[in-house]
Amino acid sequence: MYLTVKNVTKRYGTFTALDDVSISIEQGEFVCLLGPSGCGKTTLLRLIAGLTDIDEGQVLLEDEVLSDVPARNRGFGIVFQSYSLFPSMTVAENIGYGLKIRNVPAAQINARVAELLEIVKLPHLANKFPGQLSGGQQQRIALARAIAVDPRVLLLDEPLSALDAKVRSSLRDEIRQLQRTLQIPTLMVTHDQEEALALADKIICMNHGVVVQAGTPEDLYYRPATRFVADFMGVSNLIPTEMVRREMPALLSQRPDAPDAQFDACIRPEKIQINADPRGSATIRSAGFLGNLTRYKLDSVFGEMMVEVHGPQRLTEGQKVSLQISPSDCTWVVNDSYEVPQ
C-alpha cells in the first residue's frame, strides 16, 4: 500500500460527510472516486491533500502519518475543476511556481518548464497569461503545474467537468497516457461513470459518505455489489427475486442464500437476447437508434425492460419478442433499502 486512508470520519455540524472510510492506492495506480454530488468524494480528496482537517482516523503515506503535516509540506500535486491558475503569473511562472518555492535554481526551473510545456503540447504559450487561454489549455497548464514538482500523489478534483465534450475526451486520454508514463499514484474525483471506466485502474464508488464498492472497472460494471452501484454504473434491468422465481427460475442458480427482499437480479441491457416470436412474452414498446446499436424498451413479464442490440433497428414497435438470458449474465445485487433483520 502506498497511500492509505484508515477509518476516516468527517462531520460538519450534525452532517456526517465521511463515515468511517478506508481506501488505499498502490504505487503507480490510477484510482477514481466516483459518486453522486454530496457523497463525500471531494471531502475525502481534500482530507488527503491536507486542505481539510480530519475528525477521526488517519491518512498514511507508506508508513508516514500525514495528519500533522500541513498541506504545503505534503509534496502533493492538485488540479481543480476551476483551473485555478494564478492570474497574475504567466503560464511559465505558474508551472515553475512549485519549484521556485523549493528554491530550485532558475536555469533548472526553465528547463523543467520547457519540458512540461512540451509534454502538454503547449510550448508556444509560455509567456501568455491564464486569461488569454481557452479552458482546455488552462487545464493542461494546471496539470503541468501539478506534476512539475514530481508530486508524491497527484490529486484531480473533477478536472474535466468544466470542459466541453470534445476537449474533455482528448484531455482524458492525455491524462491517462501521462499517468501511465510517469507512474504517479493518482486519485481523481468524478461523478461521471464513463470517465471513471475509461481512466481508472480501480474505482471507489461512494454514496452518503461511505464506500459502497471498490474494484476494477470490470468488477463494478459486471459485478456491482448493490443496486446503487448497478444503477450508477450505466443502465441496468433490476428485477425483484420473486418475479425471477416465477418467470425465469433458471437465473436463480447463482443467487446467494438470503431473504427474497435482500437481493435483486441485475441484468445489463446488452446481455439480453431478443428474437421476433409471435408467442413471445414481451412486446417492443419503442426503439431508439444510437448509431452503433439500437436500444429497445420492452413491456415484459418483468415490467419495463431495456435491451441493447448491435446494428440498426430490426424489430418494430408492437412486435412480440421472446427473451433469452444466460444465468451467468445475471448478477445478484444487494437492495440498498433492505435492512438486515437483527
Partner: protein, 562 residues
C-alpha cells in the same frame, strides 16, 4: 521532488504550525491598533462624560447638559437640519440616479464627473462657494440686487445637501444597476405601462437603497462640522456645540456628554443601515441582464433638465470658489490675479505639505494594516473572525467630531505613555485611518471574498506558506482593491476636518483647518485659494488612482516577452 518528501517527513509530529502563528500575528497587530486607537479613546470619552467636576462618577454632567437651553436648541436644530437635508438629498439623489441608469439622454459623463466633486473638497468648500454666490457680496445677490441672508438654516441646508448628494446618488444608483432588464421585458409583454412598471418593479426593488441612503445622508449631516462652522451663523448644531464647549469654554466633560449624545442617533442609524443592507444582499440575483434605456421624450427631457440643473448648481458652487481665488478684489475688482495664493497667515503652505505627508502615511500604513487583517481573517475560525469583523466595522458609527474629541481626551492626558503622540503628525494620520477604517476594511474584504479559495489551495499544495501565498498570489489579485483603498484613505485624509479639528496645535495645522482659520480671519479669497490647492492635489490623486487601476487591469492581458 525528493527534497520535498524528506522535508515533509522530518517535520512530522505535533508542533506549532508557522502559518498559524503568522495568521494570528496578522490579526493581532491591527487588533492592537483598533483597541488602542479606537476602543480605548471611545471608552475614555464615555468615562469623561460621567466624571463630575469633583472627580467622582455620576450623571451630573448629563443632567446639566439636558437642563441647558443651548443643548436643546442645538439638538433641535441638528434634527431639523438632518431631516430636511435627508428629504432633499434622497429626492434629488433619486432623480439623478434614475436619470443616469434608467433614462436615455446625452451628456451623462458630465453628470457622473460633477457629482463626485463635493467628495474631493473639504466639506466647508460648499459653504464657502455659497457665500461667494449668495452672501452679502455674492455674485447672485449683486446681480438681482437684493440681499439674501445665506447664513443659517437655508444656507446650511443647501451646503449639506450638496455635500451629501454624491453618497445618495451612489447608493441608489448601485441598486438601480442591479435591476434585471428581463423582468421589465416580461412586464412590458404582459401589458404594464412604464408608470406601472416603476411602481410595481422599480420602487419595491430600490426601497432598501432609499432607506439606506436616507440613513447615510442623515448621519453625514448631523455630524458634519465644516459647513456648520462656516455658514451656520447663529444656527448652532450639535457638532458646533461640541467645538464651542471644548475649544471655546475648555469644558471637556460637557463636550464628552454632547459627544455621547451625538453618538446615539448615529449608532442607531448605523445599526438599522447594516440590517437593511443585509436584507438587500439576500435579494441579489446572479447574472443580471443590464437595462439599456431607449429615448422616451416625455420622461427623458424633464429628467435630463432636472439632472443638469442640480449638476449646474454643484459646478457653480465649487467653480465659484476656484474663480474667486483668482479675483483681485471680490466682488469689486473682477480682474484676475495670483496674489491670493500668497498665503499671509502664519505658516503659509506648511499645513498643505504636512497634510500631504500625513495623508500618504495614513494611506500606506492603513492599507497595509487592513491587508494584514483581511489575510489573517481568512485563516481564523468562524467565531473569532466574526467578532473581529464586527469590531473593524464599528468606527463608521462614530462621527469624526466625536472621535476627535475622544482623541484629545485620551492623548492629551499625561497619565499614559500615549501622551507622547499628542501634537504629532503621526496622531493625525492615525485618527484619519481609524475614522475611515470601516469603509477601507469593507472594500478590502470584498476583494478577498472574490478571491477563489482554490487558488490559495493550489498554492498551498505546491508548497507555499501563508506569507508566500500572500505576496505571490493574493496581493496581485486584490491589488486593485488595495490601490482603491490607498487613494480613498489619502483623499479623505486630505479633506477631512471634523476628526482633526481638535488635534491641531499652534505648531501643527492641517489643510482643512487652515482654510477654516483663513475664513475666520476674513481672508476669504485666500481661503478660496487654499481650497483650490487642496482640490488640485485631491484631483491629481483621483487621476493617479484611475490611471493605476487602468494600468493594472491592462497588464495581465499583454504577454511578457523574453
Amino acid at each position: 521532488m525528493t527534497a520535498a518528501s524528506t522535508n515533509a517527513t522530518a517535520k512530522r509530529g505535533m508542533r506549532l504550525d508557522s502559518d498559524k502563528v503568522l495568521a494570528a500575528a496578522c490579526v493581532a497587530i491591527p487588533l492592537i491598533g483598533l483597541t488602542l486607537f479606537f476602543l480605548y479613546p471611545m471608552a475614555t470619552v464615555f468615562l469623561r462624560s460621567i466624571t463630575t467636576a469633583d472627580g467622582s462618577y455620576g450623571f451630573a454632567n448629563y443632567t446639566e447638559v439636558l437642563a441647558s437651553k443651548g443643548f436643546w436648541r442645538a439638538t433641535q436644530n441638528s434634527m431639523a437640519m438632518g431631516v430636511a437635508t435627508t428629504i432633499v438629498s434622497v429626492f434629488l439623489g433619486f432623480i439623478i440616479a434614475h436619470g443616469l441608469h434608467r433614462c436615455a439622454f446625452r451628456g451623462k459623463w458630465m453628470i457622473r464627473g460633477v457629482i463626485v466633486l463635493p467628495l474631493l473638497a473639504p466639506s466647508l468648500v460648499q459653504a464657502l462657494g455659497l457665500i461667494f454666490l449668495l452672501g452679502r457680496n455674492g455674485l447672485v445677490s449683486r446681480a438681482i440686487g437684493t440681499e439674501v441672508d445665506i447664513y443659517g438654516f437655508w444656507g446650511l441646508l443647501i451646503a449639506n445637501t450638496l455635500y451629501a448628494l454624491p453618497q445618495a446618488v451612489m447608493i441608489i444608483g448601485a441598486s438601480l444597476v442591479l435591476l434585471d432588464a428581463r423582468t421589465y421585458e416580461a412586464a412590458e409583454v404582459m401589458g404594464a405601462k412604464p408608470s406601472r412598471q416603476f411602481r410595481d418593479l422599480t420602487l419595491p426593488a430600490i426601497f432598501f437603497a432609499l432607506l439606506n441612503s436616507a440613513f447615510v445622508v442623515f448621519i453625514i449631516t448631523i455630524t458634519d462640522f465644516g459647513n456648520a462652522a462656516v455658514i451656520g451663523g447663529d444656527y448652532s448644531v450639535l457638532a458646533t456645540e461640541i467645538y464651542t464647549q471644548v475649544i471655546g469654554l475648555r469644558n471637556f466633560n460637557m463636550g464628552a456628554v454632547v459627544g455621547i449624545m451625538l453618538l446615539l442617533p448615529t449608532v442607531i442609524s448605523y445599526v438599522i443601515e447594516r440590517q437593511s443592507m443585509k436584507r438587500q444582499q439576500g435579494r441579489h440575483a446572479t447574472n443580471v441582464q443590464r437595462f439599456v434605456p431607449s429615448f422616451y421624450a416625455k420622461r427623458d427631457i424633464p429628467m435630463a433638465a432636472a439632472c443638469f440643473a442640480v449638476v449646474a448648481m454643484i459646478l457653480a458652487v465649487i467653480g465659484v470658489v476656484i474663480y474667486a481665488s483668482f479675483v483681485k478684489l471680490w466682488p469689486y475688482n473682477q480682474s484676475l490675479t495670483f496674489k491670493h495664493f500668497d498665503i499671509t497667515l502664519a505658516g503659509g503652505y506648511d499645513s498643505l505639505w504636512i497634510t500631504i505627508a500625513i495623508s500618504l502615511g495614513a494611506a500606506a500604513g492603513g492599507t497595509f494594516l487592513i491587508f494584514l487583517m483581511a489575510l489573517g481573517l481568512r485563516r481564523l475560525s468562524g467565531g473569532i473572525s466574526q467578532m473581529v469583523q464586527v469590531l473593524a466595522a464599528m468606527p463608521a458609527a462614530v462621527p469624526g467630531i466625536v472621535l476627535g474629541l475622544a482623541y484629545i481626551l485620551t492623548f492629551n492626558s499625561t497619565s499614559t505613555p500615549l501622551y507622547l503622540l499628542y501634537g504629532t503628525a503621526a496622531l493625525i494620520g492615525i485618527i484619519n485611518f481609524y475614522h475611515y477604517h470601516t469603509q477601507a476594511f469593507l472594500t478590502v474584504m470584498t476583494g478577498f471574498r472574490q478571491f477563489p479559495m482554490a487558488l490559495e489551495e493550489a498554492a498551498t499544495t505546491l508548497g507555499a506558506g501563508l506569507g508566500r501565498t500572500a505576496v505571490n498570489v493574493i496581493a496581485p489579485f486584490v491589488a486593485p482593491m488595495l490601490v482603491a483603498v490607498f487613494f480613498f484613505l489619502f483623499m479623505r485624509s486630505m479633506v477631512t476636518l471634523s476628526a482633526v479639528v481638535f488635534l491641531t496645535t499652534a505648531k501643527l495645522d492641517v489643510a482643512a483647518v487652515t482654510i477654516m482659520r483663513l475664513d475666520d480671519a476674513g481672508l476669504t479669497s485666500q481661503a478660496a485659494a487654499f481650497s483650490t490647492c487642496v482640490m488640485a492635489v485631491v484631483c491629481l490623486a483621483l487621476g493617479g488612482m484611475k490611471l493605476a487601476i487602468i494600468l493594472m487591469t491592462w497588464a495581465p492581458q499583454t504577454s511578457k516577452e523574453g
